[in-house]
Each structure stands twice: as C-alpha cells, then as structure tokens.
C-alpha cells in the first residue's frame, strides 16, 4: 500500500504525521515501511528520521543542444515547445534551460537531427536507512532551480520497494504539479489540516485533487481544540471524508517537534493509533 501524506496548506503537519506513521509501522516489524520524502524543495523528514545515507546520485533534466552546422533555422523545435524554451530568432536559436521541461519533443521533430540532449543537473537523490532501521530516501532540488517535478519523478523511479511493502510518501504542500507527481500511484491520501479558515480552504483544494486523481482520502486534524471551528467538521461530513485522527494543540508537542523529536517519541501512546491507520483507511476512506 502506498500512503501519501498531503495537505494543501503548508505547515499543517505533513511531516509530523508521515514520520510518526513510518516510525510506528517500522517499530519491531518484520515488514518495515519505505519512507520517501518527496518535498524536494524543502525536504525535512530526515531531521526526525536521522537516516544514514548510503547512496547518492545526481539527477536533472535533458536540455537540448543545437549543432549550428546542421541547423537551418526551420523553427519546428520552437513551434513544438509548449514551454517556450527554444526560440528561433532570425538566424539564431536560443535555448532557455530554466524553461525546459526535458520532454524531448524538439529533438523528435528536428528534420536536420541538429538537436542532441545534455543532462543538466538540478538536484540529488539520497537513500539509506532511518535510525529506526527502515529504508529512507529523499530528493533535494538545487537552490535556484525552478522545477521540482523531474527530481520527484526520478526519486520515485529510483526506489524499488519490496513486494507488498508499505510506502509512505511525504508530499510537498499545495496542489500543483509537484504534488500531483508525488501522489501519482498512491492508494490512499492522508490529508493533514488545521482547524482554521486557511486550513479548510486548502483542504478543499486537496480534496478536489483526490477526486480528480481518484485516490481515497482521509483527514487528520492537527493543532486541534484551540478554538471552536465547526466548519471543518461540517465540510468533512458533507464531503463524506472521515476524520481519522485529531492531534491536539499542545505546547509539549510543539516543543518536542522543535527539538527534532517525532510525535510518537513525544507521546508514545500515538504508536498504536498510527499503526491502525492503514487498516482504518482501507475500511473508511473511499
């Protein structure tokens, strides 16, 4: 089972939930989960899971290169490029690597075979074992690079899970392309939110995404109980999405997280609750 922990709004507690879920499922288990931190723009699960990195590879995108001797400036590459990463201007051909998505269309349509592709490194993938023993991997997008998706895609291809191994994916915030790439292929979505108008607003977007991708979803409410906010429960009831867990707004949790301790280390009573989550999701989420 692939469980993706997403949120819409940033800072709601995705990593808090994802790391505690992995730690709970990994504890004394003969079938430990695989943890993937897909938030390549700001990966932080390693702060809680303390992995020992065993392998590291550079990844990137294939950007076109033009052989000026073969190019006759026909312009087909610029026409086919929907990202406008190639421009044919008079007798010059310009390439804008930061706009390129590495799709390869320009090379396919070039009648003069003047285009070859060159790997431009945009990030790294690292894998190893979390301190608790289970396999861990994450991607890190280089600073200044605009495109997270190719790094996420290659992270997911790089890691081959064992048959029937549970995979826990820590997903970036938002509902745009990096999120779609991260949750693609997931069996279940855990949507972490907070009982505030912002949390609810972005939860609605995340629920729309789950419908669009046809992935069953359940909700975890973090920082619960500080103020009364019935709109969240009302929305979940209306949308027929179960609220699987409420994590209280509590100083002790905040202080522990700030010290790099996982929720289940601060409050071990959550271990059993997290262990039961996958079974409950299979039963309650649709």
């Amino acid at each position: 089972m692939r469980i993706a922990v997403a949120s819409g709004k940033g800072g709601t507690g995705k990593t808090t939930v994802a790391t505690s879920l992995a730690l709970s499922m990994g504890m004394g288990s003969s079938d430990p989960p695989l943890f993937l931190d897909c938030d390549v723009e700001a990966p932080n699960a390693h702060l809680f899971l303390q992995p020992v990195i065993q392998e590291r590879v550079e990844v990137g995108i294939l950007v076109p290169q033009i052989d000026a001797g073969l190019c006759d400036q026909c312009g087909r590459c610029a026409e086919v490029c929907q990202y406008h990463a190639i421009a044919v201007l008079g007798r010059k051909v310009l390439i804008f690597p930061q706009l390129c998505h590495g799709c390869g269309s320009c090379g396919l349509v070039c009648p003069e075979t003047a285009i070859t592709e060159k790997m431009v490194v945009t990030g790294v993938l690292e894998r190893g074992r979390a301190a608790a023993g289970f396999p861990f991997a994450h991607g890190v997008l280089n600073i200044g690079e605009p495109m997270a998706v190719p790094v996420i895609r290659q992270l997911k291809q790089w890691i081959q899970p064992e048959p029937d191994q549970t995979i826990i994916l820590d997903v970036p915030p938002g509902t745009s392309c990096p999120v779609v790439e991260s949750v693609r292929g997931a069996d279940m979505l855990l949507l972490v939110t907070e009982p505030t108008p912002f949390g609810l607003h972005d939860l609605k977007l995340a629920v729309e995404l789950s419908h669009e991708l046809k992935i069953p979803a359940g909700v975890i409410v973090n920082r619960d109980g500080k103020a009364v906010f019935p709109d969240l429960d009302f929305f979940c009831a209306q949308a027929d999405i179960p609220i699987l867990l409420r994590i209280p707004f509590e100083r002790q949790i905040a202080a522990g997280i700030a010290q790099g301790r996982a929720l289940v280390e601060i409050h071990p009573e959550y271990i059993n609750i997290f262990r039961q989550l996958p079974a409950r999701m299979a039963l309650e989420c649709r």
Binding site: H84, A87, L89, G90, K92, L94, C177, P178
Partner: protein, 126 residues
C-alpha cells in the same frame, strides 16, 4: 519602418501595458504614417515562457524597435538575439504619446534586462 508597442487595448489611443511578455495587445505601428495593426498577445496567459513567446512574435514582425515598460531576462536575451532595439516608455501614457517620444529620441534605450523574475503564476508547473 515598423515598431511594436505593448498596449492594454487594440488601439493607437490605448494605454500602454508595462509588462512585455504578458501585455494584452501588441501594436505594430509605422511611426511616420501611424498605420497600425493590433494583435492579441498569445503569451498573455502562458503558464511560463511568456517573454520568449512574445519576443518570437515581435521578431517575426521584422520590426526595428519595441517599446514596453519592463523586459525580463529571457525576453531581453531573445530580443537582443533578434536584433530588435528595446525602449522603455517611461512617463508616456498612451501608444500615440510613446510613438512621438520615440521619434523625438526621448525614450530610454534598454541595454540590460529591467527586472529579474518572471510574472508566471507557478514556475514549477509541468
């Protein structure tokens, strides 16, 4: 001679649009006869690469100069490669005013990109 101005309306009296890649209209004008033709800017709603797309259109018009408010780094490189002169309209409000200022030699010539980031809503789209 032909020049291009970025405008908000398809009209010589239109206000100028300060955004090069994301302007609403591109006004192709002969500054001496004031014969003009307006084209909606295909780059206006592009998710990315608007400046490059608009620069390609401008290049294809075989114009000498383009007048706008801002030129991002990609648009600047593309227009420079296309050997199109770039000018900023400064305090001019309408296309007609800017054309007169251009003829009078009062517009600021642009020798480098005038801003750094794109106006795109999401740069990590795929």
């Amino acid at each position: 001679m032909k020049i291009v101005l970025t405008t908000t309306q398809p009209d010589l009296e239109s206000e100028l649009d300060p955004r090069f890649g994301r302007c609403s209209y591109l006004l192709v004008v002969d500054p001496y006869t004031l014969d003009w033709q307006a084209e909606p800017n295909a780059g206006a709603n592009a998710s990315g690469g608007a400046g490059v797309q608009t620069a390609q259109f401008v290049s294809a018009q075989k114009v000498q100069a383009v007048i706008s408010g801002d030129f991002g780094p990609n648009a600047f490189s593309a227009l420079e490669a296309a050997e199109v002169e770039m000018y900023q309209f400064g305090s001019c409000r309408t296309a007609r005013e800017a054309i007169q200022s251009f003829l009078d030699g009062n517009l600021q010539h642009v020798g480098a990109a005038t801003r750094s980031e794109g106006h795109s809503k999401g740069r990590s789209r795929l």
